[in-house]
Every structure is written in C-alpha cells, then in structure tokens.
Amino acid sequence: MQLGVNIIVLAAIYALIACGYVLIYRVSRVLNLAHGELMMLGSYLLLATASTFTGHPLVAIAVALVLSLCVGALVYLFLMRKMAGEMVLAAVLTTIALGILLRGVMVIVWSAQQQYPGQALGVVNPAIALPGGARISTMAALLVLATAVIYGALFAFLRFSRWGVRMRAAGQNPLLAAQRGINLHAIYALAWGLSTLTGSIAGMLISLDSGLTGTMVLIGLKAFPAALVGGLDSLVGALFGALIVAAAEISLIHYVDPLLSDVVPFLVLIVMLIIRPWGLFGTREELDRV
C-alpha cells in the first residue's frame, strides 16, 4: 500500500510541474528551461510573504500565488516577447539565461541556506494514516489534491472559457488566430503566467513538505521527461507521463536499486522516443514541424 501512495505522490509532483512545460510549449512552441528556477522563485516568494504577513498564512499564500502569476506574465512581457519571430532555439537559450540569472538573484536575496516556509507560516505537517498501514504527510496529500484540482480547472478553462479557446487557437495556428483578432501577446503572457503559477504551487507544496534548497531547480528538470513521455503539447499526456515515470522510478527504487531513480525518467524517455517520438498523447504533426 505504501508503494502505491509513494507512486501517487511522486506522480502528482511530476504532473504538477510538467503541466507548466506543456502550457508554454502548447501555445508558443518554446521549451521553458527556466521552469525549475521559476518554481523555486515561487517558493521563495511564499517565504517572503510569510514573513511579511506573519500570523496570516492564507493571506501569505494568496499573495505569493498572485505574485507568481504576475512574475510569469512579466517574464513574457519583458523578455520572451522580444523573442517573438526569432528562432525557437533563441527563445530556448533565453530561458536558460533567465534560469542562471534567477539562481544568482535568489542566492543574493535569500541566501543559500535551507529554508522552511512552513515554519515561517506556522503550519504543521503531520502524517495521515491511510488504510493498509500506509502513511502520507499532510502537504503531500494536499499536493495530490492540488494536482487533481489544477488539472480539472485547466481542462475546463481550455475547453469552455473564451480565453481558453483563444489559447488553443493560438497554439494551433497563430497566424490565423491573429487574423481573427486574438491578441497573441496577451495569450502568451497568460500562458507564461499560468505555467509559472502551477510550477510555483508545486514548489510551494514541496517546500512546505520538506524545506527549500537550491536543489529544487533539479527537481524541476527531473519532471521534464514526464512531459515529453506524455507528449509536449498534451495536458492529458503530462498526467499519464508523470504516472508512468513515477511508477517506474518508485518500483525500481523498491525492487532493484535506489541509484536507478536518477536515470529512470530518462530511460523511460529514451524508450518512448524510440517507440513513439511524439509522446503518448502528443500530435505527430507538431513533432514534424519541430
């Protein structure tokens, strides 16, 4: 039973991070390699708001979430917008540079030491006993719940809301979408904002569960194969990709060798690239275009 819980928690982490990669790629065809750094920035923003709004954890969390959304949108407006019309590779390299810059800034502002936003917020993280003798921490349970809610909300947003339909249109054919009067820059800024928001939620919940260090950047990168396995332009794919990668990783840790956990996501990715290069739910056309 504990094995199953471990798989679900890890899959939820990967899925929540991976949807940020998918949102931006789906709309603008840009791989955001600063996603891990933006995720970590979200956690640091929570740390900052926690010390600002002492004794009001919900306010601190809400403000941190709004700030994360704004950061994502601002990154697009002040940086990635300049890359519009340039080669996709240039945009990807820009995200790498952004990541390096963010890492340096975060060390200067918040130092390199391990931080505990949960302590600053005054929230506790007791373990919850589950049937079958399994246990899960409160924050890990919240993370699973948050993943389900966010994916549900994103599906509804993209399917039923006006802005969601515009976002899909911009992703499918930007030229036609622009000719129909859709403001592409607003759509892209929204995609960056939502991507940073979902990544930040993942970062916040991970840091509330086990603390915040510079290694969070690497966790962001580790979720990347989950998005690729599922198909970079598919949210459903990100969910299944995360589940497959997490199941393979936890099973190999448990039954074979814990050392394999580091390479498993990439092994799964290689297998997928050989069998179905565009991912489980990705569209073949998009890959051909790349």
């Binding site: 928690v9 890492r103 060390v107 391990q114 991970i206 086990s210 290694t215 690497l218 990168l221």
Partner: protein
C-alpha cells in the same frame, strides 16, 4: 547583507585590473557561493571574510593587510579552474583556498602544483593527500574526515544501543558520501552490528519517502547517514512520517544546531568535530558578536568552519613573515599549531607529513525534550591520525 557584498565583490574582482605590486597578503579563494551545494560553503566564506576584516581592522598581520579575493565557481570544475588561473596569474595569490565541491579539486590541485602555491581546503571535505604522508602543498581545516567519522559514529552507536543494532545507511549519490557509507557497511560487523539496508539517494529527489520506506521495511532500528545535510535531514523526516521510531545518527553539518532546535527529536544524534554554540564558550560569543556587528546574512552557528579557516590563515601568514612568497607560506603551514579556543576538541597541528591534524576529536549532541535544550550525548573522544 554581507553575503550580498561577497557576491558583488566576487563580480567586481572578476572585472578588476590585475595587481602589479603587492602591499598585502593576497589569499585567493574559489568557492561555491551559488549553485545547489552553496549552503555548505557560503556561510563559511562569510565567516572567513568577517574574521579577516577583524584582523585587518586590528592592524593586519606583520603590519600588512590581508586581501581576500573571493571568486564564485558555482561548484563547477571549469569555473573553479578559471578562477584559480586568474588568482595565480593576475592576483599573485600567495595562498589558495578551495571551499567547493570535491569535483573541483583535481583541476585546482593541478594549477596549484604548477605554480607551487599552497592550497588550503576549508569547509569542503579533506582530500586523501592531506593525511599522512601529506602532499607538500595541500592542507585542510574542514571538520569532517572520511573513515574517521564512520568509526566515531559506529563507536557511539555501539556504546549507546541497549539492543542488537540493525543498521540502515543513507548516502547521497555522490562519490564521497557513497564511499563513506560503503566503509561504514564494511566496518559495522566488527562493531557487532548488522547492516539491513543501504540507500543511495540522488541529490534532486522530490520525495524521500520511497527510500525511507525501504529503510523502515528492512527493520533498521538505527540509521546512520553521512551526506550533505539536505539528504540527512529529509531522510530522517521521511522516516518519522512513516512512524519509524528508531535512532538516527548523522554528521553535524553547519546547519545541525538550528535543525536540532527545529526538529526537537530526542532520537536524533549529530556527531561532529566542532562544538555547538549552545556550549556558550567565549569564542562562540565572540563569533556571535562579530556576526551581529557585520550584519551577517548567515547565522553565527554556521560560521565555525570559516572562523577556524581564518584563524589558521592568520597564523600561517604570521609565520611566513613579510615580504612573503608562496614557499614561505607553505613552510609556515608545515609547522603550525593553532589553538582553536574550544571550537574543536583540540588544536590544529600540522607537521611536514600531516596536513590534516594529529588528533581527530568528536562530540555527539542531541535534543533533550525534557529540558528543551541541546545536550551533549557523548563528550569529546579522539582518534590518532596516522
């Protein structure tokens, strides 16, 4: 905001005009001030800067100021190599200091040897070459010591445990940590312990529960971890979330004092070579006052390693006299005794053949739930370094 100053100084130093004439002792430092492992090194460098600033304010050494040139290498070997080349050719450093990951050691050692400049490892793990018979150019002040630490920890576990020990081991997937846990695995039977599981955990692990699950299911009643703090503490916390009630012993990194207070876990033992600030020795108060005065970014409790490095550098330069050369500094370091005023169990003593220390002292601390304070679980005990 001293860490910010160090970061900006590192940037400014990169752009600075090369020094031509030296009127100060130049100590060149390459350190992981940024990057994932920075939490181990950045506090030590801030402490070193504070210590040297105090020395300079008091008139310097032999009437000359000490100039620290601190460059960030982000724990990347290529950056560290470039830093050292600059420190040697442009800054004319008479002493090099490495405070970074062990992966940066090999290229730095090569550069130091070519230039015949002594190299001090401060806050990073001591390389094999500083133990007897020591490499003439390499020295180390860092507290932790491969193999000795495992012996110290297993000795404590053996003395403390009232029942047969089923030992679990937790390492980070980096060479040094794995090698130390392999050594502990080999040594455990000679201490009458059975190793039931060994987990090697990759650094970018979002959830430690899968590894903790295996340690618990293997039946470990003691777990020993020698790894960067993040792996040590997250493994423990994951075990506790699984309702594991065993004892946990781990290395007392810079963060350990604050973490003992945060966790309030009576079955968590930290073994280290540095005394904790809860001892409240005069030297601890001196460091705390200096950190406060300097508006330090890191807590004083994390400054012991950097402070010790400062004391040793000051003593080495004093012995080298003025005007100095790298050879004079090296000669001074090969015959050095520094009283650490209680920061460790004994002094740092370097000889021609031993650039580590002649005795390695350990002390074990734990949280006392009844008194709500950190207490000494086992007082200083030592091993001869041969």
């Amino acid at each position: 905001m001293r860490a910010s100053k160090i970061a900006f100084a590192a940037l400014a130093a990169t752009l600075a005009v090369p020094a031509v004439a030296q009127d100060a002792y130049v100590v060149g430092i390459t350190s992981a001030l940024t990057g994932p492992p920075a939490s181990t090194y950045a506090p030590a460098m801030e402490a070193l800067q504070i210590y040297i600033d105090r020395v300079n304010a008091a008139g310097g050494v032999n009437g000359k100021q000490i100039k620290l040139v601190i460059l960030d290498d982000s724990a990347e070997p290529s950056k560290a190599t470039a830093n050292v080349k600059r420190l040697l050719t442009q800054d004319n450093a008479v002493l090099l200091v490495n405070a970074s990951l062990s992966s940066t050691y090999a290229p730095i050692v090569g550069e130091a040897k070519r230039a015949e400049v002594p190299l001090l490892f401060a806050s990073g793990v001591c390389p094999r070459e500083v133990y007897p018979p020591a490499d003439p150019l390499q020295f180390c002040t860092t507290a932790y010591a491969a193999t000795y630490d495992s012996r110290g920890a297993l000795t404590f576990v053996k003395e403390t445990s009232k029942q047969p020990v089923q030992l679990g081991l937790a390492a980070m997937a980096i060479p040094l940590s794995r090698a130390e846990m392999d050594f502990a695995e080999q040594q455990a039977p000679s201490f009458g312990m059975r190793v039931v599981d060994k987990e090697v955990i990759p650094p970018p692990t979002p959830d430690y529960t899968p590894f903790a699950t295996k340690l618990k299911e293997a039946g470990a009643n003691w777990v020993f971890s020698w790894a960067p703090w993040v792996t040590q503490v997250r493994t423990l916390e994951a075990l506790r979330r699984l309702d594991w009630a065993g004892d946990y012993i781990t290395w007392a990194h810079l963060e350990s004092e604050g973490e003992l207070v945060r966790l309030k876990d009576g079955k968590l033992f930290v073994i280290g070579a540095n005394s904790l600030f809860q001892d409240n020795l005069p030297i601890h108060r001196e460091i705390a006052d200096a950190a406060k005065k300097a508006n330090a970014k890191y807590p004083a409790q994390q400054m012991t390693e950097g402070w010790i490095a400062g004391m040793v550098i000051e003593a080495a330069l004093k012995g080298a006299g003025w005007p100095t050369t790298p050879a004079k500094v090296q000669a001074s370091m090969q015959n050095l005794k520094v009283d650490l005023k209680g920061l460790r169990g004994g002094q740092i003593e370097w000889t021609k053949d031993n650039h580590f220390r002649t005795k390695q002292y350990y002390r074990v601390y734990r949280w006392d739930s009844a008194k709500s304070v950190i207490v000494v679980a086992k007082d200083w005990y030592s091993y001869d370094v041969k």
